[in-house]
C-alpha cells in the first residue's frame, strides 16, 4: 500500500541579497495513514519550510524542486495552484504556531469555522454550523453554540488553539500538519492540546506531521521522527529507536542539552553544543555539522555524505559507524 504522503529529494531555495539560501536540501520522508511523524530541529533547520513546501505555501520568490512529492497518490510537485487550493483545508490541513495571529480578528469563530467547510463543499449554512458545533465539542470546548458568536480576542490562547484544530478538521482531512502547535501555550495547556491532537488523529485516522523543537513533545506524541539540521535530514527512525540509541552526533548533542527533572545531576553542567547554527547560504559541501562536532575529521568536509540506512526507516547521515557513534559523548 502506498504511503499517504511521500517526499523524495525535496529542495527549497530562497534567493536573498547575500546569496541563495538553501532552506531545505534533499529531504526525503514518508508518512503512513494514522501515523505521526515529527520533524525535529532548531531554528533555521528548515522544518517549517518543509511543511510549507508540501502545502505550496512558500514565501514569494522561493523555488521548490522535488524528485517525488505525492499525496494520496496525487502528484503535488507539478500541481497547479487551483488543484492545491482544492486540497488545502479539504485533504491536508495546517495548524500554525501562533493562535493569536492565526485567526482573523474581524470575524466570529463560527464564521471562520463555517468558511473552512463552505469553501470546499456545497453544503448549506446550517449543515456547516452543525459540523462546527460538533467539532468544537469534540475539541473540548463547552457551550459550543454560544462560542460560535464570539470573536478570537475573547478567547484565551488555549481555546484559540482548540478552535484552530477544529477548523483544521472541518473537512475531514487525511493529513494534518501541526507547526509548533503548543510552543506559545502554557505548559499545563500543552499536555491537553497534545492529547487532543492525538485523540482526534486516532479517531479520524489521519496522518500527522508534527513540527517541533521540543524533544519532550516528540517522545510522548510521535511514532517516528526525522531530525533536521541546516536544511538536511540527519537522522530518522522510530521514536523508541532514536531516543534509546541516538546515532548522529547532533542528535546526541541535543539530547544532552536538555535538563530532565530528576535525571540530570544538579550542579553538573548541561551538555551543550558549542558554536551556533550556520546559515545555509551558498553551496554546501560535506557535513553541515562538522564545525560543531567533536568527532569531526578531515573526510567530513568531503562531498557525498549520504543517509546510511540501517533498517527500513532507520537512517543517519554520518561517516562514523554506528558503534563509533554510540561510544563516547559528543
Amino acid at each position: 500500500m502506498s504511503p499517504l504522503l511521500e517526499v523524495r529529494g525535496l529542495n527549497v531555495d530562497l534567493p536573498l541579497a547575500a546569496g541563495v539560501l538553501h532552506a531545505v536540501r534533499e529531504v526525503s520522508f514518508s508518512l503512513e495513514k494514522g501515523e505521526t511523524l515529527s520533524l525535529v530541529g532548531e531554528s533555521g533547520c528548515g522544518k517549517s519550510m518543509t511543511a510549507l513546501a508540501m502545502m505550496d505555501l512558500l514565501p514569494p520568490g522561493a523555488v521548490r524542486r522535488a524528485e517525488r512529492l505525492t499525496f494520496e497518490d496525487r502528484d503535488l510537485a507539478k500541481a497547479a495552484e487551483s488543484k492545491m487550493a482544492a486540497l488545502r483545508g479539504a485533504r491536508m490541513a495546517m495548524i500554525f504556531q501562533e493562535p493569536m495571529t492565526s485567526l482573523d480578528p474581524c470575524y466570529t469563530i463560527g464564521n471562520q469555522l463555517e468558511e473552512a467547510l463552505l469553501v470546499h463543499r456545497r453544503v448549506s449554512r446550517r449543515e456547516a454550523r452543525n459540523r462546527a458545533v460538533f467539532l468544537l465539542e469534540k475539541v473540548g470546548i463547552t457551550a459550543a453554540s454560544s462560542r460560535l458568536k464570539q470573536y478570537p480576542h475573547q478567547l484565551s490562547g488555549g481555546l484559540r488553539q482548540r478552535v484552530m484544530i477544529a477548523m483544521g478538521l472541518m473537512c475531514g482531512p487525511a493529513m494534518i500538519i501541526a507547526d509548533e502547535p503548543t510552543t506559545a501555550l502554557d505548559v499545563t495547556i500543552q499536555a491537553q492540546i497534545l492529547a487532543l491532537l492525538a485523540s482526534v488523529q486516532k479517531e479520524f485516522e489521519m496522518g500527522m506531521i508534527l513540527i517541533t523543537h521540543d524533544l519532550g513533545v516528540v517522545a510522548r506524541v510521535a511514532d517516528r521522527l526525522a531530525v533536521m539540521y541546516c536544511g538536511m535530514v540527519v537522522e530518522t527512525g522510530t521514536v523508541k529507536e532514536v531516543f534509546e540509541r541516538p546515532l548522529h552526533p547532533y542528535t546526541r548533542g541535543l539530547m544532552d542539552c536538555i535538563p530532565v527533572p530528576g535525571k540530570s545531576l544538579k550542579g553538573r553542567k548541561l551538555g551543550s553544543i558549542p558554536g551556533m547554527v550556520p546559515t545555509p547560504i551558498g553551496e554546501l559541501t560535506g557535513c553541515p555539522f562538522r564545525n560543531r562536532c567533536s568527532r569531526a575529521r578531515g573526510e567530513c568536509a568531503g562531498s557525498g555524505i549520504g543517509l546510511k540506512e540501517l533498517s527500513p526507516g532507520r537512517a543517519y547521515r554520518c561517516l562514523l559507524s554506528p558503534q563509533d557513534c554510540l561510544a563516547g559523548r559528543v
Binding site: 541579497a17 547575500a18 546569496g19 551543550s272 558549542p274 558554536g275 551556533m276 550556520p278 546559515t279 545555509p280 547560504i281 551558498g282 553551496e283 554546501l284 559541501t285 560535506g286 553541515p288 562538522r290 564545525n291 560543531r292 568536509a301
Partner: protein
C-alpha cells in the same frame, strides 16, 4: 569558558560562503542604491541644491534687473525666443531663468527652515507624549487635534494680514503650523519603542529620563524623523508658494516661484510660459522631495531578525 569552535561573525570556510553580517550602515547603502524612487528623488534634490548654491554663478542675468525694452520675450522653444534669455522674460523684463535659479534659493531656504522649526516643536511634543503617556499624552493629543482642525493656509493668511508679509514672518508662521505630522509619527514610534526591553534595561541601569529619551530612544526615531522631514520640506515649499501666490507671502521683487506664478497669472491666456515654468519647477521639486522621502522610508524599513 568553553572552547568556541566556530569563528564569530561568520562561519567556517568550506561550509559554503564566508558570510559576514553587514553593519546597519552597509545594509542601508545597498538598499539605497537599489531603490529607483530614492535615486530619482535624490538626484532632483541634489540638482536643486546645487542650483540654489551656485545661482549667482550660473544665472546669466541679475534676477532683479528690470529692462522694459526686453519685456515678455517668450522662451527659446517658441518662435521669438533668443538664447540671451533661454526661458524668456517676464512683464518687467527680468530674465526668467535667473529668477528660476534664485527662486530655488527661496524655496529651499523657506522649506528647510520651516521644516526645522516644525521638527523641533513636533519632536518635543511627540517624544514627551509617547514616553510619558497619561495626562501629558492627553494634552499633546489635544494640541494635535486642534492643530489638525485648523486650515493652515487660512491661519497663515490671517497672521500675515495682521503682521504684514515678509520672509521671516512666512517662515515662522509656517513652521509653527506644520509640526503636526512630526508629532503624530514620533508619538506613535516612541510608544512602540518604549515597550522594548532595551528601554527597561536602560532604566534598570540607572539612566535618567532625559538620557533615555535623547540617547536611547531618539537614535531609533531618526529613520522616521528623516522621512517625515523630507516630506514636510515639500509641504512647506508648496505652502509658501500658495501664500506668495495669494500675495500673503514673500513680497515682490523677491523671485519666489509662487510669486512668479502670481505675477504671471494675468498673462495666462496668451503667454502661459510665465506660469508653467515656475509651476513645473515647483512640481518637479516637490515630486522629487516626496520620492526621496518615500524612498527613505522604504530603505530604512525595520530590519527583520537575522
Amino acid at each position: 569558558m568553553e572552547a568556541e569552535k566556530v569563528r564569530e561573525g561568520g562561519f567556517e570556510i568550506g561550509l559554503g560562503l564566508e558570510v559576514v553580517f553587514p553593519t546597519p550602515g552597509q545594509i542601508m547603502q545597498r538598499r539605497m542604491l537599489a531603490h529607483k524612487g530614492f535615486l530619482i528623488g535624490g538626484v532632483v534634490f541634489i540638482l536643486v541644491v546645487l542650483m540654489a548654491l551656485f545661482a549667482a554663478q550660473i544665472s546669466p542675468h541679475d534676477p532683479y534687473r528690470q529692462d522694459l525694452a526686453q519685456r515678455m520675450i517668450p522662451p527659446i522653444w517658441q518662435a521669438e525666443g533668443t538664447w540671451n534669455h533661454p526661458l524668456g522674460t517676464d512683464s518687467l523684463g527680468r530674465d526668467y531663468l535667473s529668477r528660476l535659479f534664485y527662486g530655488c534659493r527661496i524655496s529651499l531656504l523657506i522649506g528647510f527652515t520651516c521644516m526645522l522649526i516644525a521638527l523641533v516643536i513636533g519632536t518635543v511634543l511627540g517624544l514627551t507624549a509617547g514616553y510619558f503617556g497619561g495626562k501629558v499624552d492627553l494634552a499633546v493629543s489635544f494640541l494635535i487635534t486642534v492643530r489638525l482642525a485648523l486650515p493652515a493656509v487660512l491661519v497663515a493668511i490671517a497672521v500675515v494680514a495682521l503682521i504684514g508679509g515678509s520672509m521671516k514672518v512666512v517662515i515662522i508662521v509656517l513652521g509653527c503650523l506644520i509640526w503636526d505630522r512630526f508629532a503624530v509619527v514620533l508619538r506613535s514610534s516612541t510608544q512602540q519603542i518604549r515597550s522594548m526591553d532595551y528601554v527597561s534595561a536602560a532604566k534598570a541601569a540607572g539612566c535618567s529620563v532625559p538620557w533615555i529619551m535623547i540617547r536611547e530612544i531618539m537614535p531609533n526615531l531618526l529613520n522616521n524623523l528623516v522621512v517625515v522631514a523630507t516630506l514636510e520640506i515639500g509641504r512647506a515649499i508648496l505652502l509658501e508658494a500658495a501664500l506668495s501666490f495669494l500675495g500673503m507671502g514673500v513680497m515682490p521683487p523677491t523671485p519666489s516661484w509662487g510669486l512668479m506664478i502670481s505675477e504671471g497669472k494675468e498673462f495666462m491666456l496668451f503667454d502661459p510660459y510665465l506660469i508653467t515654468i515656475p509651476g513645473v519647477a515647483l512640481f518637479i521639486l516637490v515630486l522629487g522631495m516626496n520620492l526621496l522621502g518615500d524612498g527613505l522610508r522604504d530603505v530604512t524599513a525595520p530590519e527583520g531578525r537575522t
